[in-house]
C-alpha cells in the first residue's frame, strides 16, 4: 500500500498562510485607507484547536480551475457577440467569436477533466443531473455549449471551401443555428461558475454569493469583448468595445462592493498573492477600458486594450480563487462570524424578535 501523496499532489493545501492562522490584533493595519480598523479581530474573541484550519481547503488544482472559470466566461460572452455579429453583418467579429467560443469550451473541458483526481472517469459527470450540485448543472451546461460552439466554428471553418457549391446554404443555416444555440447557453456558462464556488463552506466565497455572479458576468463581458477587440477589424469591433468596457466597469464596482460587504472576511484580498492578483487585475481592467474607449479605431491600440481586458478578467479569477484558499485555511474566518451569528441570535431571542441568521452580517463595522 503506497502512502498518501497528498503533499505533492495538492500543492494548494500546503500553502497555508501562517500569518492568517494566528489571531490578529494589529489594529493599525486598517484595510482600505483607515476605514477598517474596527474590522480587525481581537485576539480574545477567537479560540481554535492549535490554530488549525476547521474546514478543508478545496483540492482543486491551480491553474486548472481559475483558467476554467476564465475560459467559461470568455467563451460564454463571445458566443453572444458572434451570434449578434452574424445578424448585423460583422464577419470578423463573428469569426473571432465563434472560434474563441469553441476554443474556450474545449480548453475549459480539458482543464475540468485534468482537474479530476480520477480523470478517466470524467463521463461520470454526466451520469446524473443534480440541480443541487452546481458542478453537475455546469457539466450539463458545458456539454451542449461545447457542441453548439464547435458546430458553429466548424461551419465557419468550412464555409470558404464550399463557397458557391452545393450545400453552402445548408452549412450557413446550420452554423447560424448552432451559433444561436451557443449564444443562448453561453451566458449561463459564464455565471454558473459563481454558484460553483459560492456553494461551498469557504467563507469568503459563500458569503459573497450575491456578488460573485455579477463579478463573474462582468469579468466574462470584459474577456469576451476584449477578445473581440483583439481579433475583429476596426470596422466591426464597436460592440465588442462597448461590452468590454461595460464589463470592466461592472467588475471594478462590484469587486469594491464585495470587499466592503464581506467585512473581516475580505482580509484575504488584502494580503499575499490574492492582493497582488486583484491589484493587477484592477490595473489591467482600468487601462484596457480606457484604451478601448480612446483607441478603438486604431487596430493596434484596440488589440492591446483587448489583451489588457482579457488579462484583467483572468487575474480576477485567479485572485478570487486564491482568496478562497486562504479563507478556508483560516480558522478565524469560521469561528468569528459564526460566534457573531450565535450572539446576534441570542440577542434576538432575548428581544423576542426573529433570529437574523438568514442573512450574513459582517462581524463588525459596516
Amino acid at each position: 500500500m503506497t502512502g498518501d501523496l497528498n503533499p505533492t499532489d495538492m500543492p494548494e493545501r500546503l500553502r497555508i498562510d501562517h500569518d492568517a492562522v494566528k489571531p490578529r490584533r494589529d489594529g493599525s493595519r486598517g484595510r482600505r485607507g483607515g476605514r477598517g480598523e474596527q474590522l480587525q479581530v481581537p485576539e480574545a474573541e477567537f479560540r481554535s484547536y492549535y490554530g488549525r484550519p476547521i474546514i478543508k481547503a478545496p483540492v482543486w488544482k491551480n491553474p486548472d480551475v481559475p483558467l476554467y472559470l476564465f475560459l467559461g466566461g470568455l467563451a460564454g460572452s463571445s458566443s453572444v457577440l458572434a451570434a449578434m455579429a452574424n445578424g448585423t453583418d460583422r464577419p470578423t467579429l463573428r469569426r473571432a467569436g465563434r472560434y474563441v467560443a469553441m476554443g474556450g469550451a474545449m480548453g475549459g473541458t480539458v482543464f475540468l477533466i485534468h482537474d479530476l483526481h480520477r480523470p478517466t472517469r470524467f463521463l461520470h459527470m454526466l451520469r446524473v443531473f443534480k440541480p443541487t450540485s452546481p458542478l453537475s448543472v455546469g457539466s450539463w451546461i458545458l456539454s451542449p455549449f461545447a457542441a453548439f460552439a464547435t458546430a458553429a466554428a466548424g461551419a465557419e471553418f468550412l464555409a470558404p471551401y464550399l463557397r458557391g457549391k452545393r450545400g453552402a446554404t445548408a452549412l450557413k443555416v446550420a452554423g447560424d443555428a448552432a451559433g444561436v444555440g451557443a449564444a443562448v447557453v453561453g451566458p449561463a456558462l459564464a455565471t454558473y461558475t459563481a454558484v460553483l464556488i459560492s456553494n461551498t463552506a469557504v467563507p469568503t466565497w459563500h458569503e459573497a454569493h450575491r456578488h460573485l455572479p455579477v463579478l463573474f458576468a462582468g469579468s466574462a463581458a470584459a474577456a469576451g469583448g476584449g477578445f473581440g477587440l483583439v481579433a475583429a477589424s476596426v470596422r466591426d469591433n464597436e460592440p465588442a468595445a462597448r461590452l468590454a468596457v461595460a464589463g470592466a466597469v461592472v467588475e471594478l464596482i462590484i469587486e469594491e462592493k464585495m470587499t466592503r460587504d464581506l467585512g473581516m472576511l475580505a482580509d484575504v484580498y488584502d494580503k499575499g498573492r490574492a492582493k497582488t492578483l486583484m491589484t493587477a487585475s484592477k490595473a489591467c481592467l482600468a487601462v484596457g477600458a480606457v484604451g478601448a474607449v480612446v483607441g478603438r479605431r486604431k487596430r493596434w491600440a484596440a488589440a492591446l486594450s483587448g489583451l489588457a481586458l482579457m488579462a484583467g478578467s483572468a487575474l480576477t479569477r485567479f485572485g478570487v480563487f486564491d482568496a478562497g484558499i486562504a479563507s478556508a485555511n483560516d480558522p478565524a474566518h469560521i469561528v468569528v462570524p459564526q460566534r457573531e451569528r450565535i450572539r446576534r441570535r441570542e440577542e434576538a431571542v432575548q428581544a423576542g424578535t426573529t433570529p437574523p441568521d438568514r442573512h450574513y452580517v459582517p462581524a463588525a463595522g459596516n
Binding site: G3, D9, I54, R121, A201
Partner: protein, 362 residues
C-alpha cells in the same frame, strides 16, 4: 422522494431546515430501518485512540501521510499526532491540555458550584481532576521526607519551568484534559452529498452518508462543501473518502468498529432517537453534578445542518475541539444563488445584445 421543485421552492426541507427522516426524503420507502448514529460523550473519553485503530483496521484505511513534518510525524499538539479528520482518518481523537494558573478560574468555567473540597479552580468537582492544586504541599527538597513518611515524589522536585515547559509551578497550575473522538457528522442536510455531481455520495437506508468509491471521479467538490472539514480526497487513489458509519457492518447487524472498540462507552452507537434521549439524560446528570460547561453539539434538529447523525457532548466551546461553532449547510442559500446566477446570465446576454444598439459602422 422529494422532487426538485419542492426542494427549491422551499415546500420541502430537502436543502435546509428540520427534516425528521432524511432517508425517506432521499427516496427510501417508509419501511426502511430507523436512522442510526453516534453519540460521542467526550466527558468519559480517555484518549486511548482505540477508535482510530479499530476504524483503520476494519475499513482498511491506509497511512495518513499528511502532516509529515518529521520522521515520526509529530505535530506538537499534545498527544494528537493524527492532526485532523481526512481521507485516511475517519476517527480523530483531539487532545486539549487546558492549563491555567491556580485560582484564575472564572465563573464561566467554575460554574458557580461551591467548592466542597479543595477543588482546582475551574475544574468542576463532578469530574476527576488532574493537577497540582489538589496535591498536598510537598517540601521541595529531596532530603526532607514527605509529611506522611514513605518515598519522596520526585515529580514535585522537577524545575518549575523545566521538563513540563510550564511557566507556573506544578502546584500552582490547574490542568484539565479535554479529549474528544471526532467523526463524520452524517448531517441531516449533507453539503457533500448534495454537491456531489456524480451521485457517488448517497444517503443510505440508515440515514447515513456514504461514498461509492467505484463512482467517485475525484472532482473534489465535496471537500470544501463540508462545513466541518471531514471529507477529503486521498492522494494515492484520487477518490474522496470519509467515515461510512461502517455501512458494511450495519447491514450485518453489527455496530461500527469504533463504537465496538471504545472501552469507556464514550462512543455510543444506536438508533438516533434513543441516542438523543440518552444524551439528554447524560447532560442533565452532568449539570446536576455541577458540570455546567457540558453541552451537546449537533443534537439540535433546528441547527444549520438539520442536526447531526453523529453528535457530541463537549466540555468547552466547539471551536476548542476544532469544530465550527455554528455550521450552516451551504445549500441553504442555493436556491437564491441559482436565481442570482440566472438573472445575471440574462443580464449578460442582454448587455451583449445591447452592445450592438445602433452600431455606428465605419
Amino acid at each position: 422522494m422529494t422532487n426538485v421543485f419542492d426542494a427549491f421552492s422551499g415546500t420541502a426541507n430537502s436543502l435546509y431546515g428540520e427534516l425528521p427522516d432524511p432517508a425517506a426524503d432521499a427516496g427510501f420507502d417508509p419501511s426502511h430501518p430507523k436512522r442510526v448514529g453516534f453519540f460521542t460523550d467526550t466527558s468519559v473519553c480517555i484518549g486511548c485512540k482505540a477508535c482510530e485503530v479499530a476504524c483503520k483496521e476494519w475499513n482498511l484505511v491506509p497511512d495518513d501521510g499528511t502532516d509529515a513534518s518529521d520522521l515520526y510525524r509529530l505535530t506538537g499538539m499534545s498527544y494528537d499526532n493524527t492532526g485532523d479528520l481526512g481521507a485516511s482518518t475517519w476517527r480523530h481523537v483531539a487532545f486539549i491540555e487546558d492549563v491555567r494558573p491556580h485560582g484564575s478560574a472564572t465563573t464561566e468555567h467554575g460554574g458557580g458550584t461551591p467548592p466542597a473540597e479543595p477543588t482546582t479552580g475551574h475544574i468542576p468537582s463532578g469530574l476527576p481532576a488532574l493537577g497540582g492544586g489538589a496535591l498536598p504541599k510537598a517540601p521541595r527538597d529531596a532530603a526532607t521526607p514527605p509529611p506522611g513518611g514513605g518515598t519522596v515524589d520526585l515529580l514535585t522536585l522537577l524545575p518549575d519551568a523545566g521538563a513540563h515547559g510550564q511557566q507556573t509551578p506544578d502546584d500552582e497550575r490547574d490542568v484539565r484534559w479535554l479529549m474528544a473522538s471526532d467523526v463524520c457528522k452524517h448531517c441531516t442536510h449533507a453539503g457533500c452529498l448534495d454537491n456531489c455531481p456524480t451521485g457517488a455520495l448517497f444517503r443510505t437506508e440508515f440515514g447515513t452518508v456514504v461514498v461509492q468509491d467505484d463512482i467517485c471521479n475525484g472532482c473534489g467538490y465535496c471537500v470544501p462543501s463540508c462545513p466541518y472539514g471531514v471529507i477529503d480526497v486521498r492522494g494515492s487513489d484520487g477518490g474522496a473518502h470519509k467515515c461510512t458509519l461502517c455501512y458494511d457492518r450495519l447491514g450485518s447487524g453489527l455496530e461500527p468498529a469504533c463504537a465496538k472498540a471504545c472501552p469507556t462507552k464514550s462512543i455510543q452507537f444506536g438508533d438516533l432517537d434513543e441516542l438523543q434521549a440518552a444524551a439528554d439524560a447524560r447532560l442533565a446528570e452532568l449539570h446536576d453534578r455541577g458540570v455546567n460547561e457540558a453541552r451537546l453539539y449537533g443534537r439540535d434538529e433546528n441547527d444549520g445542518v438539520g442536526g447531526d447523525g453523529a453528535f457530541f457532548l463537549l466540555l468547552d466551546e466547539p471551536e476548542v475541539y476544532g469544530l465550527p461553532p455554528d455550521p450552516i449547510v451551504t445549500t441553504r442559500d442555493l436556491p437564491e444563488m441559482w436565481r442570482n446566477a440566472a438573472l445575471t446570465a440574462v443580464g449578460l446576454g442582454v448587455a451583449a445584445v445591447a452592445a450592438f444598439w445602433k452600431g455606428g459602422r465605419r
